[in-house]
């Protein structure tokens, strides 16, 4: 009956709520959190950049500290020499050795030749230092520069110092990294003998972590390195797995940027684990050539972990939010859906049940409370509907019972009706048979009538033959001349016999037409000829009664295709009728005319006329007019009815108009074929 297991393609309120409202809400939430986080990270990055800027400033300050301290120390010595506080430059080494920052020192004359040195071998000053010295002396001012020297040169000065400059872990990479040194040259003039030259102090930066220590002290977690030709020679860069990155090569993009003499700012990855934000500045020698770099950085390892955490936090909070929304909306939508579901359940119980029972009415009371006005309305409507259904069901059952009683009665009546019907059918059949037989009888008797008529008319001719024949012979004097009155009476016998003969002939013709046995022998003829010859037949009677005949014959009458004998018979009938009913000294007018497709013959007389009622019947066979004047004239006979049949057989028509006492007009119309 009902498919209860329907595919769950329709969404419930709950689904609808989740998909159309809560899910977009959660997505929006995630979008918002992400947006805020990105802004926060941007700000954090900017802060780190500021921090690094500061660290780099500190690094440079620390880097410059040697120059300033060296300059002031050496200037103090030069001044001492000039004022004669220190008698001779030969007294200087004891003082110079006390300056721990001077890893190497030289005292030159004004031509740059080394007078005294801390170097073990009396090696000449390296060229660049010589230049510096000369410049310092000649211009009479201090000179600071950073230079790179080979380890071999350094070793020739002082093997111990060279050992200090060796950077661990460079390994097989290269030994051509050289030593980064800071040079301070101060000119001096000896007071006693006027000897002049320069005091040159050298500080080796390789493996010197003092800058790094300062940075680390001021900015925790930060690092700083010095590099020569892209290889770190000092610094505190390390990771939990690698104790130090000194002696390793810097990243290629940093090296290339430094080589171009620009500041590098960016992210640097060490190995596979550490991300650093790094600022690096090039270090130039006295010729302006880039020889190395000073770099500070801050591990962004903390930032990266912070970012991952944030993503986790975002996802977690989104999930939390979503589940909260899910739970809340599930609860809410269930509270909305429950009353509807309850109503649906009730409705299903009602339609699955055969009828509404009082049990369903009690179920109505157990419906869950409605949450909204709409649902309350719905509950109210369903309640009313159920009650109404219940009442109607009761009513219907009552009616069904009543109908059951009526139906029995009806069935009984139907039974009776069927029986009556059967009887009726039998009677109808019987009557139909009777009717059919009667009709067959009628047809047979009609045929018999026609046959009888034909036979009788033949039989009647034979006695008429004798009557007419003998009458003619008597009046013709074959048996001797008859006296006048006898002769007249025999004449009357002959006339009546001839009239009788005409009646018989007409009767025969009518009978043949009715039987359909009369066949026309059509010829193309001029109707005028037929009219003329018909007029010939009545001329004698007209002369006898002094009736004047007027003809108005159309000269160019079209030829018609007719049976000449029959049309002549018609014309004769019409004309003799006119003669018969026209008084003495009357007038008969015969007119022919042609119209569209037709030829018409009009015969007008000034006779006694026919009254209006009889006009309707003059073409009926065996009609006996009641007018006494017809009886006097022996009636119409069969002439007009036969004429009508013959004209209609030709497809034409015949009509009669008459005014009583004034005359009659008969119109014969024949189509031109």
């Amino acid at each position: 009956m009902f498919r209860r297991k329907r595919p769950r393609e329709l969404s419930s309120i709950q689904q609808l709520w989740l998909t159309s409202f809560s899910l977009p809400l959660v997505l929006l939430f995630i979008l918002f959190i992400t947006f805020v986080t990105v802004i926060m990270f941007r700000r954090a990055d900017r802060n780190i950049a500021n921090l690094l800027g500061r660290a780099q400033t500190i690094a440079w300050t620390e880097y410059d500290r040697f120059f300033s301290r060296g300059t002031s120390s050496l200037t103090l010595l030069a001044t001492s020499l000039g004022k004669g506080v220190v008698s001779d430059y030969r007294a200087l080494p004891t003082v110079l050795t006390e300056y721990p920052i001077m890893d190497l020192w030289f005292i030159t004359d004004s031509r740059g030749r080394v007078l005294l040195s801390s170097a073990e071998n009396q090696a000449p000053l390296l060229d660049s230092l010589t230049e510096s010295t000369r410049a310092a002396w000649q211009e009479g001012k201090t000179f600071n520069s950073t230079e790179v020297v080979t380890l071999d040169l350094l070793r020739s000065y002082n093997p111990l110092l060279a050992e200090r400059a060796v950077v661990e872990q460079v390994g097989e990479l290269s030994r051509s990294y050289g030593a980064l040194i800071q040079v301070v040259a101060v000119p001096y003039r000896q007071g006693s003998d006027g000897t002049s030259g320069a005091i040159v102090g050298v500080h080796l930066l390789n493996n010197d972590n003092s800058i790094a220590a300062q940075i680390a002290a001021k900015i925790p977690d930060s690092f700083s390195t010095l590099s020569v030709g892209g290889i770190r020679v000092a610094g505190n860069l390390s990771s939990p797995h690698v104790p130090t990155y000194v002696g390793q090569q810097q990243t290629p993009d940093l090296i290339s940027t430094i080589q171009q003499g620009k500041r590098f700012y960016g992210r640097v990855r060490l190995g596979n684990e550490l991300d650093h934000l790094v600022v690096s500045d090039p270090i130039r020698d006295s010729n302006g050539r880039v020889i190395g770099a000073i770099t500070t950085g801050h591990p962004s390892d903390g930032l990266a972990s912070l970012k991952e955490d944030t993503v986790v936090y975002i996802i977690l909070s989104a999930l939390l939010c979503w589940s909260a929304v899910f739970v809340v909306s599930s609860l809410a939508s269930r509270r909305w859906a429950d009353p509807i579901s309850a109503l649906a359940k009730l409705a299903r119980q009602i339609y699955e049940a055969d009828d509404v029972s009082p049990q369903h009415l009690t179920l109505l009371k157990g419906l869950p409370p409605a949450m909204t006005r709409e649902i309350e309305n719905l509950q109210l409507c369903v309640s009313r509907m159920t009650i109404s259904l219940f009442e109607k069901n009761e009513e219907a059952q009552r009616l069904v019972k009543e109908l059951g009683v009526e139906r029995n009665e009806l069935e009984r009546l139907a039974q009776q009706l069927q029986e009556a019907n059967a009887t009726l059918e039998a009677r109808v059949e019987e009557k139909t048979m009777e009717l059919r037989n009667a009709m067959l009888d009628l047809v047979a008797s009609n045929n018999l009538k026609s046959k009888l008529l034909a036979n009788t008319s033949h039989e009647l001719r034979t006695p008429l033959n004798s009557i007419i024949g003998f009458s003619e012979m008597l009046t013709g004097g074959f048996y001797g001349e008859l006296p006048g009155p006898q002769r007249d009476r025999v004449q009357i016998i002959a006339e009546n016999a001839r009239y009788l003969l005409k009646l018989i002939n007409d009767l025969l013709d009518v009978s043949m037409v009715e039987q359909g046995k009369l066949t026309l022998e059509l010829q193309v003829v001029d109707l005028t000829d037929l009219v003329t010859s018909a007029l010939q037949l009545i001329r004698h009677d007209c002369d006898m009664n002094q009736i004047q005949i007027t003809t108005e014959l159309e000269p160019d009458l079209p030829a018609v295709s007719v049976d000449p004998t029959r049309i002549k018979q018609v014309l004769y009938n019409v004309l003799s009728n006119a003669v018969k009913f026209t008084e003495r000294d009357g007038e008969i007018t015969v007119q022919t005319m042609a119209s569209a497709g037709e030829v018409t013959v009009v015969v007008r007389d000034t006779g006694i006329g026919v009254n209006e009622r009889d006009q309707l019947y003059v073409f009926d066979e065996f009609y006996q007019a009641e007018n006494t004047s017809y009886r006097k004239q022996a009636g119409f006979g069969l002439g007009l009815p036969l004429s009508k049949k013959l004209v209609e057989l030709h497809g034409g028509r015949i009509g009669l108009k008459s005014i009583l006492g004034k005359g009659t007009t008969i119109t014969v119309t024949i189509p031109i074929k």
């Binding site: 001719r461 034979t462 074959f478």
Partner: protein
């Protein structure tokens, strides 16, 4: 042979009609023989000298058509003029009569004057033919 002396055979079963025809023809000077049946008429025409036959169509034993056909088959009567006077004067019967060898068909009731003229004409026609044959035979 004078036409006035000609012999006419009237074949008519109606007594009154026979009398009428006999009176008429006798009055015109003809010799009249009467027969009431077809068979007898055929017999009579073969035996006696007859110049013309007036025949009714409805006859006992043999009808007029058969009588006419029989006469036309017999050499003795082959050239005999035959006039039919009958009540059955419809077209079908007229045509059948002519096919049977009848010369003229008249309907009953007959116009006595017309009949007398036709008889006279036919007899003089036959007479002229016989005269011509006699002359050519000589």
């Amino acid at each position: 042979m004078e036409s006035r002396n000609a012999t006419i055979l009237v074949v008519e079963d109606d007594r009154h009609s026979a009398t009428l025809l006999t009176d008429l023809l006798t009055a015109h000077g003809y010799r009249v023989l009467c027969e009431a049946s077809g068979l007898a008429a055929v017999e009579r025409a073969r035996e006696a000298v007859v110049d013309l036959v007036i025949l009714d169509l409805r006859l006992p034993e043999q009808n007029g058509f058969v009588v006419a056909e029989t006469m036309r088959r017999n050499p003795a009567t082959i050239g005999l003029p035959i006039i039919v006077v009958s009540a059955y004067n419809d077209r079908q019967n007229r045509l059948r009569a002519y096919r049977s060898g009848v010369n003229v068909v008249l309907s009953k009731p007959v116009d006595t004057a017309e009949l007398a003229l036709i008889v006279g004409n036919l007899l003089s026609l036959v007479q002229n033919q016989q005269d011509r044959r006699l002359r050519s035979g000589d």
